[in-house]
């Protein structure tokens, strides 16, 4: 099977993200210990697009929050560019499932928020924000308020906000989970294009298997709680990928393999075709 290959931690380029034996244990109010992540080790190369899939509650979001410096690993090491992550960093852009735009700010003002918070030169940031808004097709909406935009447009604004400080790494936590199926497909194509143009390292969490396979260089499949890496699957489908890929046999085979890992059975009917959601 040439399209699917299990690969080890060793990548050609030096890793920008190194996760080494990370465990995360939450302690509840009742002093119960819940293990969310177990022994996660993973290296991500500069410019790589990695997606993470797993059942609900497998700790996907926790892993992303640890990468973002919003939470700390109970044990193990997370390094970005050779330095351990202990607090939120400026070279990371983050996109949540909800756009989290501030309703009292215009789209441009929302996009400029990271530059403002981090005290960057505003004239340059404004120029960059306009450039990015044009790239995601929101050039005419910079003076609008979030409530005047559709869900897909709001999420594009949120992605623009994550990119405005030109972070090296883009972390996305189910960014299209709240969108309808058609908007979602469009957003996937657009994200692929943005990634192709900006060459960021992207780590994207999703519960949609086709979305994970469509976007990824590598798909990380997590098992149910405690989340551990069930398998890392390399997706060798050439880029840029179009929606036609969805009916590609190689694509269906990868999706099928992931489904088997997650549900234990291969769902033949669902493996081929279908949307991204």
């Amino acid at each position: 099977m040439p399209a699917i290959g299990r690969i080890k931690d060793t990548m050609e380029a030096p890793p920008i993200i190194r996760i080494d034996h990370v465990d995360k244990i939450f302690t509840t109010v009742a002093q119960e210990k819940i293990q969310a992540l177990s022994d996660i080790s993973l290296s991500i190369a500069d410019g790589e697009f990695v997606t993470i899939v797993g059942p609900s509650g497998c700790g996907k979001s926790t892993l992303l929050k640890i990468l973002a410096g919003l939470q700390r690993a109970t044990s193990g090491v997370v390094e970005l560019d050779g330095t351990p992550v202990s607090a939120p960093r400026r070279d990371i852009g983050i996109v949540f499932q909800n756009p989290v735009l501030f309703p009292w700010r215009t789209i441009l003002e929302n996009v400029l928020l990271p530059a403002e918070v981090q005290g960057r030169p505003m004239a340059a940031a404004r120029a960059r924000a306009r450039e990015l808004l044009a790239m995601v097709g929101l050039a005419d909406f910079e003076k609008k308020y979030p409530m005047e935009l559709s869900g897909g447009m709001q999420q594009r604004a949120a992605i623009t906000r994550a990119l405005v400080n030109d972070p090296r790494i883009l972390l996305m936590d189910e960014p299209f989970g709240a969108l309808d199926a058609m908007t979602r497909e469009q957003m996937n194509l657009e994200l692929q294009r943005i990634w192709g143009e900006s060459r960021k390292t992207v780590v994207l969490i999703t519960h949609s298997i086709p979305e994970a396979v469509f976007l990824a260089d590598r798909v990380i499949v997590l098992s149910a709680r405690p989340g551990r890496i069930a398998r890392i699957i390399k997706v060798d489908i050439p880029r840029p990928r179009s929606m036609a890929v969805l009916s590609d046999p190689a694509f269906a085979r990868v999706c099928g393999e992931i489904r088997k890992l997650l549900y234990g059975v291969e769902d033949e009917a669902g493996a081929a075709g279908g949307g991204l959601s």
Partner: protein, 289 residues
């Protein structure tokens, strides 16, 4: 299509529906409400006359109007006219409102920033809030005398708690995702306070201000009932003592005008500051996933 295009096409043949008629069709209440008021006043006038209700029980609207004009035609400093009393009451209301709601807002804001402090004080604040503070009016008059100070203190006491409670609630109700976003951006507490917490708390604070504006008028009148030499409340007392119902009702009109005025000013400020809340309240909640 712009308005000028339509005009060019239609003017020679027949008249375009006027802007007024369009407005009336969209919002019929702007016509129905005043017509209803006029009908109500006419009905009141006629029924009082027909049923021969004595004036000292219920005056007719025209008698009230006459009394109002008489009171307003008096001199600026005439104790028998309305201007002096209105001025006294209004200054008490404004001073008490600003002092009370300002103190409530500041204290609520400070307390809400410290979780332990808020948790410790909450039970006492709830207890004090459920007390009928208006019952303290006689004591406050006893302490602060018959002049302006006692009224300002009563009003401040009444307006303090709405602002304290709503600002506490507002600062507590900040969306967690917004806070997480700010944390991910590495924002410090001061930045988070100004850029997220304050705007998020503002809708609550405005709700508190609206409550406080109503309470401030109640406080002024009650304070003047308990003991005062000047003010609309004293006017009501002396007029009812003399069975001057038309006069009493005309004072009600002045009090309503003050109330409506405060409400309109607050609403106007709110529309400018909170232009985004309407849409947020009606927006669809994000789906779970």
């Amino acid at each position: 299509m712009s308005a000028s295009d339509t005009r060019r096409i239609e003017t020679p043949v027949r008249k375009r529906p006027s802007r007024l008629s369009i407005l009336i069709r969209q919002r019929p209440e702007i016509v129905i409400a005043p017509i209803g008021l006029v009908l109500f006043i006419i009905g009141w006038e006629w029924s009082v006359v027909w049923l021969k209700v004595p004036t000292y029980i219920l005056p007719t609207p025209s008698q009230i109007g006459t009394a109002l004009m008489k009171g307003l035609n008096a001199g600026w400093d005439d104790r028998g006219g309305y201007w002096l009393h209105t001025r006294v009451t209004l200054s008490q209301i404004l001073l008490g409102f600003v002092a009370g709601s300002g103190a409530g807002l500041i204290l609520g804001t400070v307390i809400s920033q410290f979780r332990l402090l808020e948790a410790t004080l909450r039970i006492y604040l709830v207890a004090i809030q459920s007390l009928p503070k208006i019952a303290l009016a006689p004591i406050i008059v006893l302490w602060f005398g018959f002049g302006l100070t006692s009224k300002v203190v009563i009003i401040a006491l009444l307006t303090f708690f709405p602002l304290l409670v709503t600002s506490l609630a507002g600062f507590r109700a900040v969306d967690r995702e917004r806070l997480e976003l700010m944390r991910a951006l590495g924002a410090g507490p001061w930045t988070v306070f100004w850029k997220v917490r304050v705007p998020s708390a503002l809708p609550y604070i405005f709700a508190g201000l609206e409550m406080a504006s109503v309470f401030s008028i109640v406080g002024a009148v009650v304070g003047e009932f308990v003991g005062a030499q000047l003010g609309l409340g004293t006017l009501i007392l002396s007029m009812t003592a003399q069975m001057d119902m038309s006069g009493t009702f005309s004072v009600f009109i002045i009090l309503s005008v003050i109330g409506i005025g405060m409400h309109s000013i607050l609403k106007a400020v709110q529309r400018r500051v909170l232009f985004w809340t309407d849409a947020e309240a009606t927006a669809e909640p994000p789906p779970e996933g």
